[in-house]
């Protein structure tokens, strides 16, 4: 039964080789000069529910809200690799509007970043809104973004500056029903700085390479705008948030804590 022996020997070999770990060593990979694409997927939700326009969401204090407009500005995106090196996306292009209406049928908003240095990244940092340095560049220094922000309704005036987040809709409390809700939070010129930065570590290493296009799926919990670090109740005046020196920093801090990285795709 020579054949039999061969059959089994073959199967055994195959079984064993199939289990041996591949010895492609990522450490010895030379990444110098290599760049690749990276996609940030923003996904707005309320708790464990996907955010949908016109849906009524309840919050603390027996209050509820529904929105027909949801946008925020993301800027100064940078990545830290496993060796601690930081890659900062080019400043002039490093500002984006995340608009719920730009979402795909699963409600995900894509920000595609090109020419990222190839590396094994472990975390991302970004700011919500516009920092004072960028604002100090003046109207001419804003490039195309000034027009984009104006068109998207994310500006007051040049003097007052950008709206970092914009929520429009209605709210209800125990005593009021379907009253207008408008949260337009930003810095107020140079007088009040509500720009905040957030750093999120990745659950798995993000491998940026010339040939790959990894995705970072960022979940934004809109419930945290009101029920965040500090509870902001409509009954206490948080139904209309614009340039108030006391209200806006609370919303800014709450928004800062609403982001988490749900997962990454290294495909």
């Amino acid at each position: 039964m020579k054949f039999l022996k061969y059959t089994f020997a073959l199967l055994a070999c195959a079984a064993i080789t199939s289990c041996s770990s591949d010895d492609d060593n990522n450490n010895s990979e030379d990444l110098t000069g290599q760049t690749g694409e990276l996609i940030l997927k923003f996904d707005n939700g309320v708790g464990d529910q996907d955010f949908i326009f016109g849906t009524t969401y309840s919050k603390s204090n027996d209050e509820s809200f529904q929105l027909d407009n949801l946008k925020y500005i993301i800027s100064n995106v940078q990545f830290t690799d496993s060796d601690g090196n930081i890659f900062m996306y080019p400043v002039e292009d490093n500002v984006f509007i995340v608009d719920e209406t730009d979402g795909n049928n699963a409600g995900e908003i894509y920000i595609t970043l090109n020419d990222i240095d190839a590396a094994n990244y472990v975390s991302v940092s970004f700011g919500v809104g516009i920092d004072q340095d960028r604002f100090a560049l003046g109207a001419d220094g804003q490039g195309d973004f000034l027009d984009e922000a104006s068109e998207e309704g994310m500006m007051w005036s040049w003097a007052s500056g950008y709206k970092f987040i914009r929520l429009d809709g209605t709210f209800s409390t125990t005593t009021l029903t379907n009253e207008p809700l408008n949260v337009h939070m930003g810095s107020v010129g140079t007088a009040l700085d509500n720009y905040r930065e957030v750093t999120l570590s990745f659950p798995n290493t993000v491998l940026v390479r010339e040939t790959t296009s990894p995705e970072v799926h960022i979940k934004a919990d809109i419930a945290k705008v009101f029920d965040g670090t500090t509870t902001a109740n409509f009954a206490d005046g948080y139904d209309q948030v614009h340039t108030d020196v006391n209200e806006t920093p609370i919303i800014a801090d709450n928004i800062n804590a609403m982001f988490t990285v749900h997962h990454v795709h290294n495909d």
Binding site: M1, F3, L4, T7, F8, L11, A12, A14, A15, I16, T17, S18, C19, S21, D22, D24, N26, D43, G45, D48, Q49, D50, I52, N104, N105, A106, G107, E108, Y110, P203, N204, T205, L207, T211, T212, S213, H217, K219, H262, H263, H265, N266, D267
Partner: protein, 330 residues
């Protein structure tokens, strides 16, 4: 003579399988993964696992055969990270050529070559992929047990009386004969595949009892998953299945209704040497069905329903499974 013929058949099937995989490998080399297609977690569970142990490798009575099997399955998977994320409905049709071919009294080979036809329906948009799936080949050693002979009796009969109990030890391989297809470029997860792209080792232990009226068919399999070309490695898998049948014999036919349980336990998926969260899971199924043997033909049908499941962070839900087959006993 008969043994010799069976032996020849075995060689032919084995050679064809080998030849086929060589061709498949060769054609893959020509096109070395130019499309960096995202693999989906779902694949291992849904499309590619139809040749796994929880589906059974053969007939109830562990007879030798060549045949065809059709498996219908449906699933629901969530396309998103939220509880109310949209759900896509997946329908999997699998057509298999399968066989259990004897080599001699103690050894046999079981082989399985599936053709996959997978459809998913998401937001009223249909996607379909089809093609050859992952073939598997298992070599078995059968250890039969015999009835104890009375010590005070000298038996000149060389043939010992079989007890009906037997153990089977299997060693096999699952081959990446299924191609990876570029799915329709949509923003939702691209979904399902007809193959895992990996070479997997299969280790099986079976127990069989075939009495006059009742029989039991039990199978445990462990799959050691290999890494595919995208540095993606599905989690090792443990499959189990046991079926209890009752045989009703008439002059013309043999009817064997059965009930059984089966299941799979999946470990986490590894990519670039890191494990991925929410990629493990388990499922326990109940099934019932019947086999009908007329002359050399064995007809079978079964219906399988999940009893409990927790698959991939509860993002995938198995709904039901129907299987029908026609085998020709060797």
């Amino acid at each position: 003579m008969n043994v010799f013929q069976n032996f020849k058949t075995g060689i032919v099937v084995f050679a064809i399988t080998l030849l086929y995989t060589n061709i498949a490998q060769a054609s893959r080399i020509e096109n070395p993964c130019a499309n960096h297609e995202p693999f989906k977690v779902y694949c291992d569970l849904c499309g590619c696992s139809t040749s796994s142990g929880s589906f059974g490798f053969g007939t109830l009575s562990n007879a030798n055969f060549v045949g065809v099997r059709y498996i219908y399955q449906n699933f629901e998977s969530r396309n998103g990270i939220f509880e109310n994320s949209p759900v896509s409905k997946e329908t999997f049709n699998t057509y298999q050529l399968w066989a259990q071919i004897p080599i001699n009294n103690s050894f046999y080979v079981s082989a399985n070559l599936p053709y996959q036809d997978l459809t998913r329906n998401f937001n009223n948009a249909k996607e379909n992929i089809n093609g050859l799936g992952d073939a598997s080949l298992i070599g078995w050693y059968k250890l039969p047990f015999y009835k104890k002979q009375k010590e005070d009796k000298v038996d000149f009969n060389a043939e010992r009386e079989a007890s009906g109990h037997s153990l089977q030890f299997g060693l096999g391989i699952k081959l990446p004969t299924g191609k990876f297809e570029e799915s329709l470029a949509d923003n939702i997860n691209p979904g399902f595949q007809v193959g895992t792209g990996s070479v997997d080792g299969i280790f099986s232990l079976g127990y069989n009892y075939g009495g006059e009226k009742y029989g039991v068919n039990t199978l445990f399999s462990y799959y050691l998953k290999g890494e595919n070309k995208n540095d993606y490695q599905f989690g090792n898998q443990f499959s189990y299945a046991t079926n209890l049948y009752r045989a009703f014999a008439t002059e013309k036919m043999n009817i064997m209704p059965f009930v059984g349980v089966s299941g799979d336990v999946y470990k986490k998926i590894t990519q670039y040497d890191e494990t991925l969260e929410d990629t493990d899971g388990n499922i326990l199924n109940a099934s019932f069905g019947s086999e009908l043997a007329i002359d050399k033909f064995i007809f079978g049908a079964s219906y399988t329903l999940p009893i409990s499941q927790s698959l991939f962070g509860d993002n995938v839900e198995s709904k039901q499974r129907v299987s029908v087959y026609v085998n020709f006993a060797l």
